[in-house]
């Protein structure tokens, strides 16, 4: 009797869903690895402020950056290009900052930009693409031609122009990457909705008097969200790489700014004297991107109720 009640409880309800998702995660070692890496990077990002002071990267006395008054060299001389030890396990950089500490400060910067870009692109893309596909006709044309304009300009170039014109700050960087990113989501969402809106349950919904926005946003989009979600997860890695690339070519708010691409840029100048300076930020980038890519590959198996048979 109790057995039966427990079975019933485990069959239904929200918790059963969550438990089943965890079960699916455990089933698939690759997705699990991706999930662990992604979760770890998010946790590090969230705890970064506790582990290392968020102003650590700029922990230099005001006049220190001036060459002719280089207190910095005197002050941190022992730490510059340190190749590792108990306090600085991954060594230090040319400013004498610990690389491990710098990476911990840099991860939230990168992840925040990536999440902001991907989430905004997903929302803009799903709404515009969904509306374009569902309404068709003139609306569809207008939205698609608008995306064409953005797609016609090479993405990186557009971002560079925006950064140079509007100033090299993090909000501008985020917006610049977003502007090059959203059109892909519009196309993806549009193609998904186009095929989904011909499904028969949409006809049934019309027959039950459901309104257009309800059909689109409550029924069609939840059915088409999985490819978009996967693309989003994969793109977290891609956005981090793009942001790092922009930083790497020098579009940083500050030369000392804690961002993985910027750290790598500093490292490349000292690749023979202090190889750890490019190795560890680069490795971190690789691990985070691979983690989110692996997660993206398997996320559908976990969340799509259609695949649970």
């Amino acid at each position: 009797m109790a057995e039966e009640a427990r079975n019933r409880n485990s069959r239904t309800g929200r918790w059963a869903d969550v438990r089943y998702m965890l079960h699916l995660f455990r089933q698939n070692p690759i997705v699990l690895a991706g999930a662990v890496i992604s979760a770890a990077s998010v946790i590090i990002a969230l705890m970064s402020g506790l582990l290392v002071s968020s102003t650590y990267w700029n922990h230099i006395t005001p006049g220190a950056s001036l060459c002719w008054n280089n207190q910095l060299i005197d002050w941190h001389i022992a730490n510059v290009f340190n190749c590792g030890g108990p306090v600085y396990p991954l060594g230090t950089d040319l400013y004498g900052r610990g690389l491990l500490q710098m990476i911990i400060v840099a991860i939230p910067v990168d992840l925040q930009i990536a999440f902001e870009v991907v989430a905004s692109a997903m929302i803009i893309g799903t709404v515009l693409g969904g509306v374009a596909a569902y309404m068709g006709g003139v609306v569809d044309e207008i939205i698609l031609r608008a995306t064409d304009i953005f797609l016609a300009v090479p993405g990186i170039l557009l971002a560079i122009v925006l950064l140079v014109v509007l100033g090299r700050t993090i909000p501008v960087l985020t917006t610049a990457v977003l502007i090059t990113w959203w059109p892909f989501y519009v196309r993806l969402a549009r193609s998904q909705v186009l095929s989904e809106k011909e499904k028969l349950y949409v006809e049934r919904l019309k027959a039950t008097g459901a309104s257009g926005p309800r059909i689109l946003f409550r029924h069609i989009i939840p059915n088409t969200i999985y490819p978009i979600l996967i693309q989003g997860t994969l793109d977290i890695g891609a956005v981090i790489l793009t942001v790092s690339a922009l930083m790497f070519i020098g579009l940083t708010p500050d030369p000392k700014y804690p961002e993985l691409g910027n750290l790598a840029k500093q490292g490349i100048q000292y690749i023979f004297t202090a190889p750890w300076m490019i190795l560890f930020p680069g490795l971190t980038l690789l691990i985070i991107s691979v983690g989110f890519n692996l997660l993206g590959d398997g996320i559908r198996d976990v969340f799509d109720p259609r695949l649970r048979r």
Partner: protein, 370 residues
């Protein structure tokens, strides 16, 4: 039976002409359909594939595809002309008066939402339209005043205040809707309805899904139920169960049912009257017994003769000669004349009107035109 026949028509279609504009040309799918559905009756609409059965029902529900053009005709539902309504008015009609049950229950349910959320949404999207029915239903469940369990007395008070114009909260509407939906699922004989509500469509069997579809139609308490090939996708045993359910339901619900099918056996099971369609026309309309015992139109005769029978000594399947006309280039006059064994001189020229040759028995054939 007589009371039913005296009741006025719930649906009246007259001279309905629908053309589909396609790349190949204009397909004249409906060629002046006249049909009345009386209050509380089950009308069978039979005919071969492509004869316009489904187009008729889609026209009634206002769901014709964009390349279809309504050339002429009127569709009156409970006194109101559907074709003159705005889109919003038609949407409201679909929400409350007309319900459709579709052919394949799997593809007509959204696979990523639970059955419960799909059923509840019908009610919660326009709570104002359904609130009186919800309150009435719950009050009936509670039972007459004074006899209810003491715990329910407070709830009765609350319900009465809602029915007098009090505004219920969102949560309250959802709770009422859930109780209402559960009782509707019980009405379509679904076992363990509370549990079914939390299940996804793929977790249900074909018969259960079709019961859910029927429940979806019934929660709206429609005046007219259009059942388009509702048993076709089901296997025979489930089909029998669903027909049994339909027969039981017609006593319980106050709705007229139009049963669209190509299965004459299904029609004989549940219908009061039958309309036979051929190439976009109603060719014969009569009571079930009348039609099966005394078919008048040559097409109906052929159709009934072609039903295979276990008890006859016949070895060859009887069929109607020729093939279904291409509606891009429909035959002139009576559209059946090229295949008709009794065609004569006037047939290719004159389109026969639907005339009453016996009380309650209408036929569109020049043979019976006096």
């Amino acid at each position: 039976m007589t009371a039913r026949e005296e009741a006025g028509p719930i649906l009246k279609i007259s001279d309905l002409r629908v053309t589909f504009h396609t790349y190949a040309g204009d397909v004249k799918a409906l060629n002046g359909v006249d049909l009345t559905v009386r209050k509380g009756e089950v009308l069978g609409l039979v005919g071969e594939s492509g004869c316009g059965k489904s187009v008729t029902s889609l026209a009634v529900a206002g769901l014709l595809p964009p390349n279809a053009e309504l050339e002429s005709g009127t569709i009156t539902l409970a006194g109101a002309d559907i074709l003159k309504m705005s889109r919003e008015e038609i949407r409201q009609k679909r929400l409350t008066d007309i319900a459709m049950v579709f052919q394949d229950p799997m593809t007509y349910l959204n696979p990523v939402l639970t059955v419960g959320s799909q059923l509840l949404e019908i009610i919660t999207q326009e709570p104002k339209l359904f609130l009186p029915a919800l309150v009435r239903h719950r009050l009936e469940e509670i039972g007459p005043e004074g006899k209810e369990a003491p715990a329910l007395a407070a709830e009765r008070e609350r319900l009465l205040s809602i029915s007098r114009g009090g505004r219920p909260g969102r949560k309250e509407v959802e709770r009422l809707a859930r109780q209402y939906v559960v009782s509707t699922l019980r009405q379509v004989r679904l076992p363990d309805p509370e549990k079914v509500l939390d299940m996804y469509p793929f977790e249900l069997s074909g018969g259960m899904r079709q019961r859910v579809m029927i429940a979806m139609a019934l929660v709206r308490r429609p005046k007219l139920l259009l059942a388009d090939e509702m048993t076709t996708a089901l296997d025979v045993t489930v089909q029998a169960q669903i027909l049994q359910l339909l027969r039981e339901l017609r006593k319980e619900i106050d709705a007229s049912i139009v049963l669209i099918t190509h299965d004459l056996a299904v029609v004989a099971e549940v219908c009061d009257r039958v309309a036979v369609m051929y190439a976009g026309n109603i060719v014969e309309l009569a009571g079930v017994e009348e039609l099966y015992s005394d078919p008048l139109h040559p097409y109906t005769k052929g159709l009934l003769a072609s039903i295979p029978r276990v008890d006859s000594a016949r070895t060859r399947q009887v069929s109607i000669g020729g093939s279904v006309p291409n509606l891009l280039f429909p035959p002139s006059g009576c559209r059946f004349h090229p295949r008709c064994p009794k065609a004569f001189g006037k047939c290719p020229q004159v389109k026969p009107p639907l005339v009453e040759v016996k009380p309650g028995h209408l036929v569109a054939c020049l043979l019976y035109e006096e």
